[in-house]
Symmetry: D2
Subunit: 336 residues, 4 copies
Amino acid sequence: MIIVVKPDATEAEVKRLIEMIESQNLSVNYSKGTERTVIGLIGDTATADLEKIQTNHIVDKVLRVQEPYKKANRLFHPDDTVIDVKGRKVGEGHISIIAGPCSVESEEQVVSIAKSIKASGATFLRGGAFKPRTSPYSFQGMGYEGLELLKIARRETGLPIVSELMSLEQLPAFEDVDIIQVGARNMQNFILLRELGKTNKPILLKRGMSATMKEFLMSAEYIMKEGNDNVILCERGIRTFETATRNTLDLSVIPVLKKKSHLPVIIDPSHATGLSWTVESMTKAAIAAGADGVMIEVHNNPEEALCDGEQSITPEQFDKIMTTVKKYAEIENKVL
Amino acid sequence: MIIVVKPDATEAEVKRLIEMIESQNLSVNYSKGTERTVIGLIGDTATADLEKIQTNHIVDKVLRVQEPYKKANRLFHPDDTVIDVKGRKVGEGHISIIAGPCSVESEEQVVSIAKSIKASGATFLRGGAFKPRTSPYSFQGMGYEGLELLKIARRETGLPIVSELMSLEQLPAFEDVDIIQVGARNMQNFILLRELGKTNKPILLKRGMSATMKEFLMSAEYIMKEGNDNVILCERGIRTFETATRNTLDLSVIPVLKKKSHLPVIIDPSHATGLSWTVESMTKAAIAAGADGVMIEVHNNPEEALCDGEQSITPEQFDKIMTTVKKYAEIENKVL
Amino acid sequence: MIIVVKPDATEAEVKRLIEMIESQNLSVNYSKGTERTVIGLIGDTATADLEKIQTNHIVDKVLRVQEPYKKANRLFHPDDTVIDVKGRKVGEGHISIIAGPCSVESEEQVVSIAKSIKASGATFLRGGAFKPRTSPYSFQGMGYEGLELLKIARRETGLPIVSELMSLEQLPAFEDVDIIQVGARNMQNFILLRELGKTNKPILLKRGMSATMKEFLMSAEYIMKEGNDNVILCERGIRTFETATRNTLDLSVIPVLKKKSHLPVIIDPSHATGLSWTVESMTKAAIAAGADGVMIEVHNNPEEALCDGEQSITPEQFDKIMTTVKKYAEIENKVL
Amino acid sequence: MIIVVKPDATEAEVKRLIEMIESQNLSVNYSKGTERTVIGLIGDTATADLEKIQTNHIVDKVLRVQEPYKKANRLFHPDDTVIDVKGRKVGEGHISIIAGPCSVESEEQVVSIAKSIKASGATFLRGGAFKPRTSPYSFQGMGYEGLELLKIARRETGLPIVSELMSLEQLPAFEDVDIIQVGARNMQNFILLRELGKTNKPILLKRGMSATMKEFLMSAEYIMKEGNDNVILCERGIRTFETATRNTLDLSVIPVLKKKSHLPVIIDPSHATGLSWTVESMTKAAIAAGADGVMIEVHNNPEEALCDGEQSITPEQFDKIMTTVKKYAEIENKVL
């Protein structure tokens, strides 16, 4: 961390600022230029309380040199994290294919989709029981019953299940869900993150609609700080000015997050564009770019889907995509 | 709501689509053009489940004519909503000045600030007890103790208090808080909104960082649908590409939200720019633009603030701003 | 085009509006709903002057059904456009690899890079002679001399050349340039587009930093309207709130632009992220997503580059990328 | 400027880097921390060529301390710039009201509007002769004839005229235009800016749709570097995710640009929101926030306007706005 001092600060003021910094277990490196005076902070600035420094009246700017996250930081954890979910590995050389309906609608629906996607090569079954909807008048999901139907589909196919938890009081019901999803709108629900950090569940953390990659990693850090290192990062499109797609899929997260962090990175093309006819193209792009997997909405009858049918593909379309994905995985030496 | 049918749809397909729509208690108005066929929906489209229509394979586009919110809609509620908070009115000709520290730090701090701002003309005291922070290593607020200190300050000054609720389990502790604030990161925490809708508390709902005005009103609708009409809308800056300010304050919400809705609109310049030296300018702009009030961070010693000192102004600066605000209120025939 | 009439319009007013529309060679389809009255326009709305309609005081909303571009529209031109550049084809099954330095610096530099990239499989040589720079104090390119050096490199390698034209008065000097690039900042320099439309040169049109896909296609339409159909669309990153990358590469343009238009789509990963270490990942993603090619900055000595060295890769890195790209092209049945 | 060196750089490498920097007439201040080594640059970094430094392989980050503009920088020019346009002053305590039609349509139209706005208190007449339009099928302005009609209106009213120049070859025709406007789409047309810098005309420079304030000031710097200091900055809305307004008016530019620069700042509410019914609210906000003026579209018959009628107000509405603006100006001690 580097502090740029205002040009008109007196020597006495600079001295007091340095003493205050040193009282926080940091050393300083002081250098006086012709136009600006600069103070470098030496020590663990990630956990220090730096608010006081930033608001000191002689401070012009504070420039961060080091990233503010520690546990999610590849600098302190050079090897890729591999998460084990009932024997299936997520990360480092493994491609995870999470597929299933936006929302669970009936036993028949979810079991039939689960069987189809398994036959095509999916490795996880996703399905929403609790649905965050923009309008209070839209279908809000089957709730606890939906979770039970997912478990039935798991029993029938052996696919581990992924479902979204919307609120803390639902946590006990997710005891037997294999991967707990935190939705984009909850990415900065810090109390929720903290409590999930106290479990040892794999957490699929979705990037907030307008979260920077740094904030995304800080939210992972909230979970990891409490002791749960099983965090899977999931990009699902960010909000931009473009309206041709629902959101803008930011595939550059793949090289960037993988450079800055050791956590697995999954891409959700379905929510990103909101357009089923782009899913094949975006899935192939995600795998080619180096993602550790994708999360795709598949519905046996998208026109009748109670939620987000517009972005769901059919089992047949999913099967076709999987054929190419397997070829790409081979080129990239990855295990599907 | 208007449905544009794909050019290659057969008459039989169009007929089936119309039947499906009519089964939802909507009538249709069918018009066949040379290039496109268009179906108009007549009836209450706000509460109908329209997902099925959108994903029908012969549907090209669905164009909304009417806004998807009802209770928050000025169309169905032409008069301004005025909210009574312990005898103080929010909305329609009343300017509410909510001021106080970002976070409550001690009895001495909050009482002393409360007295200062009251003397300058503030009408509500704000103070954070639970603080949503991007980093798990930052100060997270005093919690329940903070709420108690706010109540002491209220007793000393008579100012009603505003504080942020971060999670549902904190709700009982907010029984005696006068206005419950829902933060920007919780604007789409739908379960929280629903529960707040079951209380009769005034809710200050902050706009999400990347929420459109329509989504903002839909979140108000979540609260109002459950029976609580006491919603105050608060703009606090949106996320854009600009980095000179922390967020971009969108003052155009004032004329737009007031045209579309009957709810009061408050502006928070402090969080919007994150720069204390812009607060005076932006506060005056908010009042001139027709806001029903502002929410300003005031700290007796911004340099020592445990949170967001960079954006806090001093009681002296606040007093100076209030002097101009009063003149503006007079020109606009508003009561402060 | 659909017009929603305000609820309080009188029948006489609606009648006058309809007459005005009909005076523009459009027919109307009138439907009166219980809440809203809707007028559908039938005929060629793309070229009609619709401003008058939009501002009529009884008009509430105007909803576009058809895209406002004609020549760039796949609806009226179902087959892919293939552009022939000195015998090399751009579009439909051909992958074009455009590589070279950000800016031409010397004969030795550009010839040596051209030879390297050709050996690795590049099909076009790019190099900037005129450089749009944010700061007036930065290197502005070699100008006309740079164009001459590019031609020397073309003579030595046979690679057709691509270079950016910044202003109309430079046009004569681009007579012998094979593809004229229009930079992102000039995407809406309409006078420039119109003049380029009067040539028969292939134009590589870069998407503006904050241009929607619709505006992008409207700019292509400006060129095509004058008679030049040789337009290549190039995505180079859009401006968003994210700062980890210079811009956000929007790969969803590939399926979307290809659905809406018949023009070839090229991706520029170098300018999009501004980070050389992401170029491999993003190039593979672009090819996998179905792009007709990529445009990559290659410099023999990025550290000494006079411009944008941060985003340039070395000839060795380029060679490695090309090896994978060839495998992907094979899977996708495309010719490199 | 501060350089953060990668942790694994050798002492010899750091030495070579320092020598390279010193060869550019800069001194360095070297400080070795426990985790990071930092080099501070002392001297005039604004005009030095820093690309070489940024791409040196041992450099991790480069952090700018000083703004990259000099002539537009308040640091080097503490007093407000006041621009004299035919005896009327723009900047520092003067409020300039620029009003008129989006585009000049006829002598009668522009003269009649000019007379009305003058009577209400406008100080400049605006009118477009050359119109940048997204669609090639929209009305493109009257061209040179439009300029002549503006001059007639000036003769009739005495109001100095403002009009937009779209391309360099139009420059001779603007000899007798009082303020030359550079549109948002041309804000980074660097060749145009450079040539305008060689004139002594007042330039009204509009902010690009997605330009940061820093880039905005860099474009002013392009003009000023050539010797023309008469630059007026004009905010006209930036592009964000919000669609309720055409753009998002960023009024925070007023305090921020005024802190960083000495140039006058004008607000264009009409283009910012694209909604005539927001103009009153946003104009009052601009004046209250400290703008040096506003630029407002006024049309005698918005419904018949050939361009942007949706955002134009009538002379009667303009007159009403001016009444309040005068009261605000008085409170702020400004001359209208």
